[in-house]
C-alpha cells in the first residue's frame, strides 16, 4: 500500500487481523451457544447445533466506492431488528446543535431502519453538570436502560460494572455486534483498550482514528510568510527556532514594536512543544515507559536542559509575556488583529485557536501559518510526541445498564451505528453523498463520501459524535476534497504526516490508558492533582525566570518538592495498573 508509512503498524495489523478473525469467530461461536441458552432471542440458531451467529449483516451497497486496501466501515443495508414495538429509555446530553433528540433527523432515520424506538432523557449543562446529575440518578436508583455519550471514565465504568449496575456487553458483542467485531479486527488493540481489569467490557467504544490528533500536544505554528520575509527557512533545531524568533522580533513585522514572536495560552500546555527536543514528553501527567518501567519526565536532567532553553527564549522576549495567562479570546485578538497579525507563531492545537478560519478565502490569514516540525535539541533528541493509544478508541459511548430488559436488542441497535451510512448520518447528517469514481479524498486516494460544504451550520440533523461509531483512518481520509475546496483538514493532515509522523517515538514509550479500581482512583486523583499543580507552576516559574533553571539550588528544591508530593507512590500505582493493562 502506498501510504503504509502513514499508518502505525497497519500492515502488521491486517496480518494479525486475519489470524485474530479466525480465533474470534470460533471463540465467538462458543460464547454464543452459551449465551443463547440463556437469552430468548438466539433460540433459532441454537437448534441446528452449529456455532453460526444468529444475526447476519445486510448486503453491501454496490454504489459505494472504496480505495484500494481500504480498512474501515462498510456500507450495508440495515435490517430491521425487531417487528414488535420496543422502547428503550436512554439518557443523553442536551446540545443545542443536536437539538431535540426526539425530532433529530438521525433519530428518525435510525428508528425507521431498526424499528427500535427510544425515549430520550436529556441532561443539560456542562460535562461536569451532566456527571453530577448522572451520579444523582444512579445513587437514587433512577436508572435508564442505557447512557449514550455520557463521559464515564474507565475507572467509573469498572466501578459501576463491578457492582453489577452496568451490563457486561462482551458476550453480546461476540454474539450480535458483527459491525463492531469487524472494527475490532481492523483495530486489534480495541479490546484491550475497552476492557476493564476484570476482562469485562462495560461500554461500547467510539472508534475515531484521527490522524492529526495523534500529534496534537506537540504542535505549534509559525508564520511562513514572515519566515520568508526575514530570509530564513522553517526551523529544524532549537537553535534555528531561536534564530527565527529573533529575526521576527528584530524585523518587527507587526509594526510599532507590537510583534510577539511566539505566543501561547492557558488552554494548551506549552511544555510538550519544547521539551520533546530534550526528552520524550507526552504532556500531562508526563508518564513515560522505559523498558517496562513507568517513569515521569519532569524530574530528569534533560527536563532541566529544556527549562534552560525556554527560559533563554523568554528572557530575550521571544515568548509572549502572557503565555500562561492569556485565554483563548486574548490569543485570538493577537491572531486576528486588524491589518497584520501580531504573532509570528503560537502553540495551539490547530489554527482555529489563535485566529478565525475562513475556509472559502484562498488568501485567508490562517493559511500563512504552518505547523512547526518537532525541533532537534542540542543532544540530537527529536520526538513528535505521538499518541498511539488514547486517541482513536474512546470508551463509554454507549453504556447498557442492568435495567435493560433486552440487552441483546440494544446491542444490535448499537452495532447498527458502526455501519458506514449510519456513521455518516450519525456525526454529519443526511446531507452526504457517496463519492464518484475518481473523486479524491483528503489522502489523495479514491474518496468514499463527501459532505455538502455547509453541513456544519445545520441543526437537529446529527448526534454530534458521542454515539457508538467507527471512523477508521481510511474512512476519515476518504472524505472527498473537491479541487476548489480549501478546507483545513487537508493541510492539517499533510503537515502532520510530513512533519510529525516520521519523528514519532516508539509506541512502547507511551503510557497506555489504564483502569484503576475505586481506592486507587481516589489516591491517584489526589496525587495527580498535586503533581500537576507543582510541575506546571514550577515550569511557568522556570520559564519566566522567577526560578532560575541554571541555579542548582532552585532545581534541587524543585526535585525535592515533587518527590515529597509523592512521585514514588504515584509511580507504584501506575506501574501496577500498567501491568494489569498488559496482563
Amino acid at each position: 500500500m502506498p501510504n503504509d508509512d502513514a499508518r502505525p503498524g497497519v500492515s502488521r495489523r491486517s496480518l494479525i487481523a486475519g489470524a485474530l478473525g479466525l480465533t474470534a469467530a470460533t471463540a465467538g461461536g462458543g460464547l454464543l451457544s452459551g449465551c443463547s441458552g440463556k437469552s430468548n432471542a438466539g433460540a433459532a440458531a441454537a437448534g441446528a447445533g452449529e456455532a453460526a451467529p444468529s444475526v447476519t449483516l445486510g448486503p453491501k451497497l454496490a454504489t459505494v466506492q472504496y480505495p484500494e486496501g481500504y480498512v474501515g466501515p462498510v456500507a450495508r443495508t440495515l435490517k430491521p431488528l425487531t417487528t414488535e414495538k420496543v422502547t428503550f429509555k436512554i439518557v443523553v446530553k442536551q446540545d443545542v446543535t443536536i437539538g431535540d433528540w426526539k425530532t433529530n433527523a438521525f433519530t428518525k432515520w435510525l428508528e425507521q431502519k431498526t424499528g427500535v424506538h427510544i425515549e430520550w432523557s436529556q441532561i443539560g449543562g456542562t460535562d461536569d453538570d451532566v456527571m453530577t446529575k448522572v451520579n444523582a440518578m444512579i445513587a437514587a436508583g433512577d436508572i435508564p436502560d442505557a447512557f449514550l455519550g455520557i463521559g464515564f471514565t474507565r475507572s467509573q465504568l469498572f466501578l459501576y460494572g463491578a457492582q453489577g449496575l452496568f451490563t457486561d456487553v462482551g458476550q453480546h458483542i461476540d454474539a450480535y455486534a458483527l459491525n463492531l467485531q469487524g472494527a475490532m479486527k481492523d483495530y486489534p488493540e480495541t479490546r484491550k483498550l475497552i476492557q476493564a481489569p476484570d476482562k469485562k467490557i462495560y461500554s461500547f467504544p467510539g472508534i475515531n482514528d484521527c490522524f492529526h490528533c495523534r500529534a496534537i500536544d506537540g504542535r505549534g505554528w509559525l508564520n511562513v510568510d514572515w519566515i520568508k520575509q526575514v530570509g530564513l527557512a522553517m526551523p529544524k533545531t532549537t537553535d534555528e527556532f531561536r534564530e527565527v524568533l529573533r529575526a521576527f522580533k528584530k524585523a518587527d513585522l507587526a509594526g510599532n514594536g507590537k510583534t510577539i514572536p511566539f505566543a501561547g495560552y492557558n488552554e494548551a500546555p506549552i511544555d510538550p512543544f519544547f521539551m520533546n527536543a530534550f526528552l520524550y514528553d507526552p504532556g500531562e501527567p508526563w508518564l513515560v515507559v522505559k523498558d517496562g518501567k513507568v517513569d515521569v519526565a519532569f524530574d530528569k536532567d534533560e527536563w532541566r536542559e529544556g527549562l534552560k532553553y525556554v527560559n533563554g527564549l523568554y528572557k530575550e522576549g521571544l515568548i509572549s509575556r502572557d503565555v500562561f495567562t492569556a485565554d483563548g479570546d486574548q490569543l485570538k485578538r493577537y491572531g486576528n488583529a486588524p491589518g497584520k497579525p501580531l504573532i509570528g507563531g503560537a502553540r495551539s492545537n490547530y489554527w482555529g485557536n489563535f485566529l478565525d478560519i475562513d475556509q472559502k478565502d484562498p488568501n485567508a490569514r490562517w493559511r500563512q501559518y504552518e505547523a512547526c516540525p518537532p525541533l532537534k535539541g542540542p543532544n540530537g533528541v527529536q520526538y513528535a510526541a505521538w499518541d498511539y493509544l488514547t486517541v482513536g478508541v474512546e470508551v463509554a459511548h454507549l453504556v447498557i445498564t442492568k435495567k435493560c430488559a433486552k440487552p441483546d436488542l440494544l446491542v444490535q441497535w448499537a452495532d447498527a451505528q458502526y455501519e458506514l451510512e449510519a456513521i455518516l448520518r450519525g456525526y454529519g447528517g443526511p446531507k452526504f453523498a457517496w463519492a464518484k469514481k475518481g473523486d479524491l479524498g483528503i489522502n489523495g486516494k479514491q474518496a468514499v463520501y463527501g459532505f455538502d460544504a455547509t453541513w456544519n451550520s445545520q441543526k437537529n440533523l446529527n448526534w454530534g459524535q458521542d454515539n457508538p461509531m467507527y471512523r477508521s483512518q481510511d474512512f476519515r481520509l476518504g472524505e472527498r476534497v473537491l479541487p476548489g475546496d480549501l478546507t483545513f483538514e487537508k493541510p492539517l493532515y499533510e503537515q502532520t504526516k510530513e512533519r510529525f509522523f516520521p519523528l514519532k517515538q516508539p509506541q512502547e514509550m507511551q503510557f497506555p490508558p489504564v483502569t484503576l479500581d475505586q481506592d486507587q482512583a481516589a489516591q491517584e486523583a489526589e496525587l495527580k492533582t498535586n503533581l500537576k499543580g507543582e510541575v506546571n507552576q514550577s515550569f511557568a516559574k522556570f520559564l519566566t525566570g522567577q526560578l532560575d533553571p541554571n541555579d542548582d539550588g532552585a532545581w534541587n528544591d524543585y526535585k525535592d518538592r515533587v518527590s515529597k508530593i509523592g512521585v514514588k507512590p504515584y509511580l507504584e500505582l501506575q506501574q501496577a495498573a500498567y501491568e494489569t493493562y498488559n496482563g
Binding site: D95, K133, K459, E489
Partner: protein, 311 residues
Amino acid sequence: MSAGTLPPDEQRLAVGASIQDTRGDKIAMACIYTALGLFCLAILYPLVYVLSASVSNTRKVSAGEVWLWPVGFTLDAYRAIFDYKAIVSSFGNSVYYAVAGALVATVLTLLAAYPLSRKGLPGKGLIMGAFVFTMMFNGGLIPTYLVVDQLGLLNTRWAIILPTAMAVWNVIITRTYFMVTIPEELVEAGKVDGCSDFSFFWRVVLPLSKPIIAVNLLFYAVGQWNSFFNALIYLTNEHLFPLQVVLRQILIQSKVDPSQMQDTSKLLQMQELQQQLKYSLIVIGMIPPLLVYPFVQKHFVKGAMVGSLKG
C-alpha cells in the same frame, strides 16, 4: 432671626450647602464623587461592552476592535438565537419559572412570616427554630432527589417551583417588617371592631405591606432567573429547561480538549456558535432583571431593612 445666631450646623442648613462649603467639604465631596464615579464606571463598562459586542460584527469583536461602541453594526447575533429552538423555549421557561416561582414563594413567605410576627402564636420559638435549622442543615442532594422523585415531581415544572420555594432568610426579613410596621395595638383595635385574623391579614396587613411584597417578589424572581442547579438535577426534558442551563452548555462548555479536536468541523462550529452568541445571550439573560429593577428598587429601602427602625 439672623443667620449669625444659629449654631453652625443649622446655619449651614439655613443658607444652603452650595454657598458655604468649606474647602475640606469640597475636597471630601470631590473624593466621594470620584470614587462613586469610578465604581459606577466599573459596573457600567462591562454592561456597555457586552451590549456593543452583541451588536457588532463577530470578527471585529474577536480581533479586539470593539472596546466601547459597536463596530460593524449588525443584529445577526440576535437573529441567530431564533435558529436555536432550545434557546427560545428556555427563555420562555425562565420567565415562567421566575413569575410562577416568585408568586408561590411570596404567598408562602407572607403566610409564614405574619403569624410568626405576632406575640400570641403558641410554639412560635419552636417553629422559628425549625425554620432556622433548615438554613444550616439539609438532607443533601441524594435524599432530596429521592423526595422529589417519590412526590412525582421529577421532570415536571413543579420540581423547579416547589422544592426550594420558601427561603427562610426572606421569612425573617418579612417577619421583622411586620413586627415593626404592624404594631400589636393595631391588631387589638381590629379585634375590638370584630375583625378575624384572616380578614385582618387581608384588609389591613397586606395593604400596608406593599414594599415587603415587592421585595419578596423581586428576590424570588431574580433567584429563580439565575438558578440552574435544580433544573439540572430534576429535569430531563429539554422543553422544560430554563435559560441558564442552556447558557451553561453553550458558554461555559468551551474548553478545548483533544477529543473535541477529533472533529475539527464540529469544534469550529461550536467556536463560531459561541463567538456569535456569547454576547447576545448574555444580553437576553440580563434584560428581564434589568427591566424589573427600576420599578421595584424604590421599595427596597423601605422593605429590606432587617431590624432597623423606620420612620
